[in-house]
């Protein structure tokens, strides 16, 4: 198939969906933020711990509910972010998410794929006072 079929569901995606990494809560995160993709009903909350100088991400945990693409993307992102700087997180875009997932995401499903990235970015922006937002929505 071209786009949209089970090409999207390669082993890596299914593995992260069935066995999500860093799933759960962090007790005292530097910041926590939640977002949703109303089209799919996906919801993801991410807890992030920054290092003392608040430049580098130390740990990430997530929890949520939704389709395999959104949840696998959050799981993979939680691994990828550890060790990255906040600046690098801010600079991430859709292409970085696609590359991380390692599959072609059909246009209709891109919002599922980028939800976790948007939640992490908005969470950081809110923490650093650059944004005022209760919830992230892929529709905004």
């Amino acid at each position: 198939m071209g786009i949209g079929g089970s090409d999207m569901y390669r082993q890596q995606i299914l593995d992260h969906y069935k066995n999500p990494r860093n799933y759960g809560e962090i007790e005292e995160p530097t910041f926590t933020h939640v977002g949703e993709n109303p089209m799919c009903g996906d919801e993801i909350r991410m807890d992030v711990v920054l290092d003392d100088d608040e430049e580098t991400i130390e740990r990430v945990a997530f929890r949520g509910d939704g389709c395999a693409i959104s949840q696998a993307s959050a799981s993979m992102l939680s691994e990828k972010l550890a060790g990255m700087t906040v600046e690098e997180l801010d600079a991430m875009d859709r292409d970085d998410v696609t590359e991380m997932l390692g599959v072609d995401i059909s246009p209709m499903r891109v919002k599922c794929a980028v939800l976790a990235e948007k939640v992490a970015q908005d969470g950081a922006d809110i923490y650093f006072g650059e944004k005022d937002l209760d919830r992230t929505s892929t529709e905004d």
């Binding site: 949209g4 079929g5 089970s6 999207m8 569901y9 799919c40 389709c67 395999a68």
Partner: protein, 415 residues
């Protein structure tokens, strides 16, 4: 098919009218089960569209030349044909061509609601309304100070009629109710609801988007004050919807859109409106689509709306039975055995609806996944989304079997 009840409907013959059904993706023939979203277009309707542009195309109502006269007559007659299709004895004067069901809802909401509703008025809807009606009346209520109330949906997907009788009161100005739910498949008792509304001097607006294409609908038997539906869900083209309104109501209503065609006389100071239904069809109307919709009515009547109703219900019942056998599927709406529209929405325990839809695409099975424009209903049911298989005259049991096989494949992938 092999089932006696369906033999009135020669599906193999019908399928020949829909060449799109022969399309293959990677060697898999498409199984089109997204008919509640839009139906495919049969050859006679496609031919009507092509013929119109090849032989008759002109603007209507104003040209004195031959082409314009022919186009005008065909376009005006199309209104009569659609009126006949839904039992409107007022003929063209009761049939307004719009863009779609949503615009038909908005026409009444703006032209009637905005002028007539006030803070003392209530608009009653159901919890299973499509956004086309729910959002429209919700926003008109905000503008006018009116209150929206919602008839409860029971566990079994039917309306709580006791609740309906309780909240439809003398304060009710409008009852807007979906005839067949596009999510649950429930067939609502619209005639009974019309009686309740009329007992309280309220009007009833029936959303017929999922009923007019699939079953005999007689607006006068229902005693609907307004009824809306879309051409593209009933073998017609996109870009055309219909608003039926009782003549005396349409006469009393102010226009919704202003401009050319909808006027009789214009001075710098004032304008006088054209006759029905043209008063509500400002600007160059949906000429080709209207003529094609009339052809779609002919096509469906040739098959027989009662035959279509039976065929759709049978396919939906068969789908429900097959899904129930799967054990891990939760279907929405009335249980097997209860008459329903030709659609089944469901969720698998282990596979999200969007993942399912993407994976089914591998087997060339086209279904819808999402909230089907009924977000509040999905919220109430506690599911963010559902998968929906919906049928039309050309679908078969074999196609339902392919759907079930594809679901099994998806389940295995996620196991």
């Amino acid at each position: 098919m092999g089932h006696s009840e369906s033999e009135a409907l020669d599906v193999e013959r019908i399928r020949e009218d829909f060449p799109i059904l022969q399309r293959e993706f990677d060697g898999e023939q498409v199984v089109y089960l997204d008919n509640a979203a839009t139906t495919q277009t049969p050859e006679p309707v496609v031919e009507t569209i092509a013929d119109y542009y090849r032989t008759t195309n002109a603007n209507v109502h104003r040209g004195l030349h031959q082409l314009s006269q022919e186009a005008s007559i065909a376009y005006e007659d199309a209104h009569d044909r659609v009126a006949e299709f839904i039992g409107a004895s007022g003929e063209r004067e009761e049939i307004v061509f719009t863009k779609n069901t949503t615009e038909s809802e908005n026409l009444v909401a703006y032209a009637w609601g905005l002028n007539e509703l006030g803070p003392e008025d209530e608009v009653v809807l159901t919890e299973m309304e499509h956004h086309a009606s729910l959002v429209t009346w919700q926003q008109i209520a905000k503008k006018t100070g009116a209150t929206c109330r919602y008839i409860r949906v029971e566990e079994d997907g039917t309306l709580d009629m006791d609740h309906a009788r309780e909240i439809i009161t003398d304060d009710t100005a409008m009852l807007s109710v979906v005839h067949v739910s596009n999510t649950l498949g429930t067939v609502n008792p619209v005639a009974e609801l019309a009686d309740i509304a009329h007992d309280h001097d309220a009007y009833i607006f029936v959303d017929g988007a999922q009923s007019v294409p699939n079953r005999p609908v007689d607006v006068e038997a229902i005693d609907a004050d307004f009824l809306a539906f879309s051409g593209h869900k009933m073998a017609g083209p996109t870009g055309i919807g219909v608003l039926y309104g009782k003549k005396h109501l349409l006469e009393e209503m102010e226009p919704y859109l202003y401009g050319g065609m909808m006027i009789n006389k214009v001075t710098f100071e004032d304008s006088k409106w054209n006759d029905l239904p043209w008063k509500f069809e400002a600007g160059t109307p949906v000429i080709c689509q209207g003529i094609a919709l009339a052809e779609a009515c002919d096509y469906l009547d040739d098959i027989g709306m009662e035959n279509i109703r039976r065929h759709e219900n049978e396919l939906a019942q068969y789908t429900l039975e097959r899904l129930d056998d799967e054990g891990d599927v939760t279907a929405l709406g009335p249980p097997a055995g209860v008459e329903r529209g030709g659609l089944v929405s469901f969720n698998l325990d282990s596979v999200h609806a969007h993942d399912l839809s993407s994976i089914l695409n591998d087997s060339a099975v086209a279904i819808r996944a999402g909230d089907h424009c009924t977000q509040p209903l999905h919220d109430k049911l506690g599911v963010p989304a559902s998968a929906r298989a919906s049928f039309y005259v050309y679908n078969t049991r074999e196609e339902v079997d392919k759907l079930i096989e594809a679901i099994d494949d998806a389940r295995q992938l996620f196991a």
